[in-house]
């Protein structure tokens, strides 16, 4: 091998960069998000829409609600299960999911999402 030292340094740099996620993790406990349902949600047993839909589409649902309320004053949502909900972030979602910290933030912190909604909307008071 010619220029062996340079080649090996190059290979080491390449491997260190490539395996960044593996060595970055070492010694850090991976915390898995654990969104806790508040009492009211537990009693209701189901969300506005089926769970998987909420998991993947809740941001889109909120976006739709926002547009429809603010632009067309259309304040009621007919869910696929036939129930009617008042389209509101603070009054509906946060009524059942009364702790932002224990619910929404669990997932959001895990993926580093910081919704800017709370710049204006008021988050529920956390007890404790």
């Amino acid at each position: 091998m010619y220029d062996g030292v340079k080649i090996i340094i190059g290979i080491i740099i390449f491997l260190v960069l490539l395996l960044f996620p593996a060595w970055y993790q070492v010694g850090k406990a991976a915390k898995v998000p654990d969104p806790k349902l508040a009492e009211k949600a537990l009693k209701a047993e189901q969300c506005v829409e089926p769970k998987l839909f909420m998991k993947t589409q809740h941001m889109k649902l909120l976006d739709e609600w926002r547009d429809e309320v603010v632009r067309s004053a259309d304040r009621y949502y007919q869910s696929s299960s036939g129930k009617t909900y008042y389209k509101s972030l603070q009054v509906t979602c946060m009524d059942c999911h009364s702790s932002k910290k224990e619910f929404c933030d669990q997932c959001h912190d895990y993926l580093g999402v910081v919704p800017y909604c709370w710049d204006c909307h008021i988050e529920p008071k956390e007890n404790g």
Partner: protein, 372 residues
């Protein structure tokens, strides 16, 4: 190969690659195979393959510097040398290499030869390839770095910076509501646009079309496939729901992160609820990784080992010994004469050095030789 055949062949191969995980996961539920075994195998092939190729290159000698450079070589003190384009030391080489790797400088020099004024040849400014290549490589890099949010916990700050910069539009270019949250990330679309251009360019320019092979189309289509499945997952779920009443596109990214973290911490898990489209995305990425070392994509490593880029032009300052030189068996004239002197003298042939014995014995004959 006819270019239509080349394109068809590549499309068929990529389609088969899409169908394999589709059927494997959707019909046979082979999630562990496509979510754990295939990605691990792919990364192993990627690393071994790259080492194999790089070491292969390192074993080939480059005896001389190849000064195919666009600049004045260092010579006399009063002639200004071009330190970067024709470097004479390691510093210049590093700068030249950085320009090449980060800005694709040799592509920037691309010109196209055209007849503009009658029969006169002109070299026209041709920067589209350079622009598209930069757009493609940088958006690819940004997309990959942003994906680190799936592979790191806690997520390092630079990933957030990239994400915020990339998502600065926040929303709003959507024709229907629900498209814009979570926010639009520009790089994914730039990636697709650049790939489309690079493909169309191969078709549009007749010379490029003529030299293009499946080995050129296949990686393009493969990466288009990866980017398309990614975009479908992130943005098209609500649209799918709207058209078909069922959402096969959205994936719960929290579960995806659990899978990804399982892979990097070597505790693989297969969380529920992740749709087939994610496994297609992951499978295509795995194929890309495994294909990488054995294809033209290896230019990622090759650029650093290009002799025209990574060698300083010091042919005149340093003696470069050919590494395959071995001691050649020589037989100089002096040695020849030493061996045959007596016989030469006997035969009356002229000799340069006269040995003592022969000088004494046959003075006459050597005098005769001198006279001649």
């Amino acid at each position: 190969m006819n270019f239509i055949l080349g394109i068809l062949f590549s499309i068929v191969v990529v389609s088969i690659l899409v169908f394999i995980p589709w059927i494997g996961v959707w019909a046979w539920d082979l999630r562990f195979v496509f979510g754990v075994i295939v990605p691990y195998a792919a990364i192993a092939i990627f690393i071994m393959g790259i080492l194999y190729r790089v070491i292969g290159w390192a074993r080939s000698p480059v005896p001389f510097r190849i000064p195919t450079t666009a600049g004045q070589q260092k010579s006399l003190a009063w002639i200004k040398p071009n330190r970067i384009d024709n470097p004479s030391n390691a510093f210049g080489v590093i700068i030249r290499m950085a320009f090449e790797v980060l800005l694709f400088r040799s592509l920037f020099r691309n010109t196209s030869l055209e007849f503009r004024q009658g029969n006169r040849i002109t070299y026209e400014w041709e920067k589209w390839l350079w622009v598209a290549a930069l757009a493609f490589h940088y958006s690819f890099l940004v997309v990959v770095l942003r994906h680190l949010r799936f592979f790191t916990e806690p997520i390092p700050a630079f990933v957030h910076w990239i994400e915020n910069l990339d998502g600065f539009l926040e929303m709003g270019i959507a024709p229907f509501s629900g498209f814009s949250l979570p926010g639009i990330l520009i790089s994914g679309f730039v990636l697709l646009a650049a790939l489309t251009y690079l493909f169309l360019r191969r078709l549009y320019i007749s010379q490029t079309r003529y030299i293009s092979l499946p080995a050129d189309y296949f990686p393009l289509f493969l990466i288009i496939g990866i980017a398309t499945t990614g975009v479908l997952m992130r943005y098209m779920g609500a649209f799918m729901q709207f058209i078909f009443g069922a959402d096969w596109f959205s994936v719960p990214v929290v579960n995806v992160k659990e899978l990804a973290m399982g892979l990097v911490t070597f505790h693989p898990v297969i969380p529920e609820d992740i749709g087939t489209i994610f496994y297609i995305h992951l499978f295509l990425v795995s194929i890309l990784l495994a294909y990488f070392p054995f294809s033209k994509l290896m230019h990622m490593g090759g650029i650093f080992l290009s002799p025209t880029r990574n060698l300083s032009n010091n042919n005149r300052m340093v003696r470069h010994v050919n590494p395959w030189d071995y001691p050649v068996k020589t037989h100089t004239y002096e040695e020849y004469e030493d061996e045959f002197r007596e016989k030469m003298v006997e035969a009356g042939l002229p000799v340069e050095k006269i040995s003592e014995e022969s000088a004494e014995d046959k003075t006459g004959s050597s005098e005769e030789a001198e006279k001649e």
